[in-house]
């Protein structure tokens, strides 16, 4: 079985981020790391594709030929990676990115495509379903468990109340939520082996896409302004005068969380 995991390489969230004043987009120069939320996708894929002849391929679109984040996934055990890096991709919106990823994923001819629910730098959360739509594949979101049964997958799909059981034919796009599996630490051997695992470098032209469809040229969105978010209010302090519990319950009811 071939599983593709889409991996986003993002600026290290520990380092203070910066916006490009010209485009109002996140400055992505400098070293990028694998988005933490993709740890779960990679782990899930490795667990599903652990058999003889199974293979996990990573697919990533990133500026500057960046592979640092990919190496993390390769060190965990993925066999190879496809990296799309092209100056024409700067300023891509989610749909533009989805076009690129869909074209790259198709080259790997996977049985299953695993993605994170959303990235931790962009948070649009729209990319996986766009990729599925472009590829004409079914998509199942918020998976907390996945099992393979012949040519179908069975997914436990997280809901507010519990989970739904969804069965769908492969190939399919599945998104996993953070925390559903325990991502493995890459072993020392894995880290050393990652260096020599193949990374295929592709450009927009290699994928047969036109530069006008992607990047800022093809983007349907423009960030016109960025403003600071409102400082958080100080909250309400409840002094317990015997009725503390009721007042907390009343507060939560008012928020409609209980």
């Amino acid at each position: 079985m071939n599983v593709v995991v889409c991996v986003k390489q993002i600026p290290d969230p520990v380092a203070p981020g910066a916006l490009d004043p010209g485009t109002n987009t996140l400055n992505r120069s400098g070293k990028l790391i694998m988005d933490d939320s993709d740890n779960y996708g990679v782990e899930m894929a490795l667990q599903l594709a652990g058999g003889e002849g199974d293979e996990v391929t990573l697919v990533s679109m990133a500026p500057g030929g960046e592979t640092s984040g990919l190496r993390t996934g390769l060190a965990m055990g993925a066999a190879k990676a496809i990296l799309i890096s092209d100056e024409a991709l700067a300023g891509s919106d989610a749909l533009g990115t989805a076009k690129v990823l869909a074209a790259a994923i198709a080259r790997a001819n996977p049985d299953l495509i695993v993605m994170a629910t959303e990235s931790t730098d962009g948070y649009t959360g729209t990319l996986p379903v766009q990729v599925a739509e472009l590829m004409g594949l079914p998509s199942v979101t918020f998976a907390k468990a996945i099992s393979i049964e012949g040519s179908t997958i069975k997914v436990e799909r997280q809901t507010e109340a519990g989970f739904d059981e969804v069965v769908c034919p492969m190939p399919a796009v599945v998104t996993v939520t953070a925390g559903v599996v325990e991502p493995r630490y890459p072993s020392f051997k894995g880290i050393m082996a990652a260096k020599s695992k193949p990374v295929e470098n592709l450009t927009v032209a290699d994928l047969g896409l036109d530069a006008s469809q992607v990047g800022s040229a093809g983007s349907g969105q423009e960030i016109t302004d960025v403003s600071e978010s409102e400082a958080r209010g100080s909250g309400e302090i409840v002094v317990d005068e015997g009725d503390g519990a009721q007042r907390v319950v009343a507060f939560l009811e008012q928020l409609k969380v209980i």
């Binding site: 630490y185 020392f188 894995g190 880290i191 260096k195």
Partner: protein, 407 residues
Amino acid sequence: MFEWSEEQLAIRDTVRRFVEEEIKPIVDELEHGDTPPYEVIRKLYATFGLDAMARDSFKRQLERKQSGATGSARPEGGGDAALTLIPIIELCHYCPGIVTALGVSTGLAGGTIMKGGTPAQMERWGLDLLTMDKIGAWAITEPDSGSDALGGMKSTAKRDGDEYILNGNKTFITNGPYADTIVFYAKLDDGSETPLRQRQVLTFILDKGMPGLEQSKPFRKMGLHSSPTGELFLTDVRAGRDRLLGESEGTPGGSEGRESAKGNFTTERAGVAAMSLGLIEECLKLSVAYAKDRLLWERPIAEFQLIQLKLARMEVARLNVENLVFRHIEMSSKGKSLTLAEASAMKLYSAQAASDVAMEAVQLFGGNGYMSEFRVEQLARDAKVFQIYAGTDEIQVTHIARDLLGR
């Protein structure tokens, strides 16, 4: 080498994550709860595949020994010392005691058996020590001889038919209370008139539970609580020739046993430099954060020049120790080794720097520095031992001088 490579950084990051997630939450338990460090070390080994790597390395060393080759068993180019040193550095951000327990078991006990043992001894004891399946101790120091361990040693090995009868006390023995396998040094008592100081040193491999062998409870110490240290008492312990390292006394009156002990000097001293680096990095990080955070006279103490001087000195120490560690890594990757003077100088400087930096960190933190919660007090207590074990500061000085003056 002036910085870590991409691959080394990946190793550092993954070990750092393990230390933050698995060690940090249990430091208190390891330091003050009498929890031995071995389970978490085994977890570290399993997590990063270090046990599998140890088995591979064991196989190579065994094949080399069986083929009769001598010298280093390292693969071409000398291997990557960084693979060993990076975990040491990272662990010392929180817990130098773990490193001591680990290093003595695999490096000193396991290493001695792998170097001097016969293939049968390597298989019987070496493999389990390298993988951390068993815990090893390396016992040379005695109550009446530390710095003068080889000369002043009083433990004896007396021939009795095909066997030896061992007697003596060892003290300050890392892992002593829990060790499954003990590398034990003793003077050969062949009934001759040879004065004790000049007698041949023999090395034996002992198992926990042998009749006449007593392993004490852990000592209470100033620091390094995560590393159990104890005493060994031997009363007429019978050891067959199969327990004599190399299954041979060596050349009559020869110095094999002494060389076996000294053979560990360079690795041990490089290890202490790496430990110092980790400890210094942590003290510096904590100190910079505290200096920016702590307000006095309505401004951060980082603005006071006397505080800045402390931070600057810490940075100088960090840079120097890092350079020494990098140099050692680069040299061993080229298959070159440090001279005795260099290895001793590296250990002397690094150990002193670690102690100084940690004590200054305590000072910078003021009263909080004296409180456990702020962690620098533990690091300061732990750092002190770097100047004592693996050869005291004073002994390093004598080794540097001996090497320089003997040229």
